[in-house]
Amino acid sequence: MLLPKFDFHAPETVNEACQMLSEYGLKAKLIAGGTDLMVNMKKKILAPEQIISISQIRELDHLDVSGDRILIGAGVTVADLCESKTIAGYLPALGQGANNLGTPLIRNLATIGGNIGSARPAADLPPGLMAYGAEVVLQSKAGIRTLPLDNFFLGPGFTALQPDEILTEIRILVPPAGSGAAYVNIGIRKAQDCNLVNVASYFALDSNGIIQNARVVMGCVGPKPFRAVSAEKILIGQKPDIQLFEKAGEAASADSQPIDDFRSCATYKRSMVGVLTQRTLQQAWTRIKNQE
């Protein structure tokens, strides 16, 4: 299967890569794990003239807790997320997404930056990341800016990333005590499929056991992963229980905007949003109770 013709660059630092991007602009594409870009080039959907590899840039490989924040380099692979104790301990909903992404072979190549950068509405990592309130760090020759991940996605394959910018890091506040989150996806099979619906939920309790903050994020049911705002409104100010989770599920269903496609009909996806919202809230609640 022929790939388009391009030049290949392998800068050693983010600064060098930014320099190249500012030179080549729209003619260039970054490649990390390549599991999205290579397929798009083979299918002749994309034909960049310049390919800038970032998989050899060591600055992008870190995964640390620094003060009250968890910092994840954009080059961290999905397999690394699956094996990380930091992720399992602090961000289990992200770990669930990582464990359900692709196949073990794909996970060894695929990066978190590439999963965000490809901006697929069905991607496995964005819902968990958005549920934790993640921010992304974008760097160009001109400097560095940060953006809530909520504002990063614009539509299928479209993001707020400028042609000369690199996503370098994902930042997440260490979730407070009394908070929990979970992610559930459904598809046709366990491995090697595209999600039909995926949902991540997060909530945090105050000292009286009242939900003070909640985020419910739905994938596959709109042009980008997005928040179920009415479900969040129902949760905040209440004590968690099954009836409340059911009501939140119904609200999330109503917020979703699924379409009919060859994978399934919109009606099915809409009702699954309700089921997965309930299940993720229940799992998040169990996680909170297990901390006590």
Partner: protein, 152 residues
């Protein structure tokens, strides 16, 4: 334009001139003549092109050869020792886990990397780790049994 890169394959260093748009599987098969890694879907779906890169199984149809420069690559040709076949290879022969053989290189390399990391996996671990390697002859049961037979 072709560029000279150094690839380490099966502990041997090769200086090869490659095009920027050549995939690792193409270079391994057509430039180095190591045809154990197969080309099936070429889209990351089937796992027949599996090689180990720094010990981890990857789809070599999704890796640019230039991205593999400086990494340690192992193919099916490189896991035999002076004592003969690798235990996983031997088990595949003994348990009838090879039918047409198209998936076998990938299956064996993925299983080897699992056993290197976890010498005593459960059947579920084995199934999960092989879930990116498809067998069009559908010989899964014998393949799982072969891998199980190598565990203590």
């Amino acid at each position: 334009m072709k560029k000279l890169i150094r690839l380490t394959v099966n502990d041997r260093e090769y200086d090869v001139a490659v095009l920027p748009n050549q995939t690792l599987v193409d270079v391994i098969r057509y430039e180095l003549g190591l045809t154990g890694a197969k080309k099936g879907c070429e889209m990351g779906d089937c796992g027949s092109c599996t090689v180990l890169m720094d010990g981890k199984p990857v789809n070599s149809c999704l890796v640019l050869a230039m991205q593999a420069a400086g990494r340690k690559i192992q193919t099916i040709e490189g896991i035999e020792t002076e004592n003969g076949l690798h235990p996983v290879q031997e088990a595949f022969v003994q348990k009838g886990a090879i039918q047409c053989g198209f998936c076998s290189s990938g299956m064996i390399l993925t299983a080897k990397s699992l056993l290197d990391k976890n010498p005593n996996p459960t059947e579920q671990d084995i199934r999960k780790s092989l879930s990116g390697n498809l067998c069009r002859c559908t010989g899964y049961q014998h393949i799982i049994e072969a891998v199980k037979s190598v565990t203590p």
